[in-house]
Each structure stands twice: as structure tokens, then as C-alpha cells.
Symmetry: C2
DNA sequence: TTCTTTTATCACGATATAACAATATAATAA
DNA sequence: TTATTATATTGTTATATCGTGATAAAAGAA
């Protein structure tokens, strides 16, 4: 039950839902997500930590960057079910705007984007 | 998204998970749940209110009693999915104990049980 | 009516969570 | 080495949530 609650809480926050819906589109580093969400680095990093602890996302390091993506293997008993549930969530206005912004920043060189 | 978060939060609490797992076994009034959960009336009633607002449970009045059960029709976009997800949750020790207690009180006359 | 029973709601203290600034850590470049 | 960049962690403040006592509301019995 502890794991289940951890994951249910993880998807109970607007910011974390926004992050997960973005990660459905690919793999992103913290500074890219900062830019799209328009939130401070510590805030984004903390939310990603919560999602990682819950087993909903995985990350890989590349130099100073950390890239996050959705977990695609069974980390605990329910993580894939929770992600599936979220994939059924219809995009509301906020998510749609995030995805528009995503398309813009996806074109940009990450080395330039993250310095700004 | 608002509804989704409401339901995700509703299943993010140990007490509410215990209630939902009990309601998988049938229909119960507040005082029966109080007895099984060993919690105060205001606490149980509040949790049931949260579950009702989230569309996860329904209730019917019979005299002074209010009987709660799991929603079995589509109240919002996700309620059945959330209940399905919860039905996959493996019973841990606490839930097992609740179900044992449930079997005991199910035999008893509700008019006597609820007066004690 | 008055009393009892059951449930819902309000108010409160304790705890948890959110966003953020400041700081620490780790990798790389100069 | 020192400086820079990206991320993680810590501490603070504001808000949200949990459990509970007190109260209110609704139904029925006396």
C-alpha cells in the first residue's frame, strides 16, 4: 500500500501531471522543463525527484545534464498502471499550451536554451 | 484535470483506501465503518465526503442511516478507472485485518452494533 | 412536543506539501 | 587550479490535509 500511495500522490499534483504529459512526448532535461513550465529550478527538480521516487520516471546523466523520461519497465507493482491512467487524461488548456511551448523549444539547441 | 486530481488525491490516503477496499465487499453505513476502522464519526464522515465528491462512492439514505457503496456508473471521466486501479491493489496486513473485522460485524444486527 | 440516534459540518491543532531562495554537489571548460 | 554550468538539497514561508471535539441537521421514537 505504501508504494501505491506514493504513486497516487505523485500524480495528484498539477505540476507533476504537466511534467508527465510532457515526458509522454520524449526525454527532457531539467532546464528544458523549467523553460516550458516557467518554474524555478529547485521546484522542477523537486517534482522530478518525487516522480522518480514513485517509479514513474527514470533519468540518465549526460555531462551536467540529467535527462528524464517515463519509466517503461515495471519498477514496482503499479507504476505502469498509473502512467496508463494518466495517458487517458484528456489535455486541458494548460497541457495544450505546454505542448505548444514544447514544440518551440524542441527546435532549439539545448546548449543555448539552458544558458538563458 | 481538476476532476482527475480530485480522484487521485481521494485514493492517496490510507484511510480512504481502507474504506474503498471494504466497500468492494458491499454496502455499509458510517457507524459500521467507524467500528471497523476504529475511527471517530467525524473522521469517517469526512473521508466519505471526499470519496463522494470525487465520484468514487455513492450513498442512499434509509432513515437516519446513510449507506455507502462504490460507484458503478460513470460519474465523471475517470472514476471507474480509479476504482479498477484500486481493485488491483494487493491486500496488505491492515486491509486483511479490516476484512476479518468486517466478517464479524456483518453477522451483527446493525441496530445493535451502531448503538454501542 | 422532547429525546435519541445517525450523519454532516465547523473549528482547531498538528502535520504534510508547495514554491522559492540559498547553498551544495558534480561535471566540464578555461 | 579556478570559473562556469546543470542539478540536487536544505531551509523558510504559505497553504493544504488529517484526526478530532463540538455543534448542527434530519429522521424516528416516546
Amino acid at each position: 500500500m505504501r508504494d501505491f500511495i506514493l504513486q497516487a500522490k505523485a500524480i495528484s499534483d498539477e505540476t507533476r501531471i504537466r511534467i508527465l504529459k510532457l515526458l509522454e512526448k520524449g526525454e527532457f532535461c531539467v532546464c528544458q522543463l523549467m523553460d516550458i513550465l516557467d518554474m524555478k529550478q529547485s521546484t522542477v527538480s523537486k517534482h522530478l525527484g518525487i516522480l522518480k521516487t514513485a517509479g514513474l520516471v527514470e533519468c540518465r546523466k549526460n555531462g551536467t545534464w540529467t535527462f528524464y523520461k517515463l519509466s517503461n519497465n515495471l519498477i514496482n507493482n503499479y507504476n505502469l498502471d498509473f502512467l496508463k491512467l494518466l495517458s487517458c487524461l484528456k489535455d486541458d488548456f494548460l497541457i495544450q499550451e505546454d505542448k505548444k511551448r514544447l514544440k518551440e523549444i524542441a527546435k532549439q539547441d539545448i546548449r543555448i536554451l539552458c544558458k538563458s
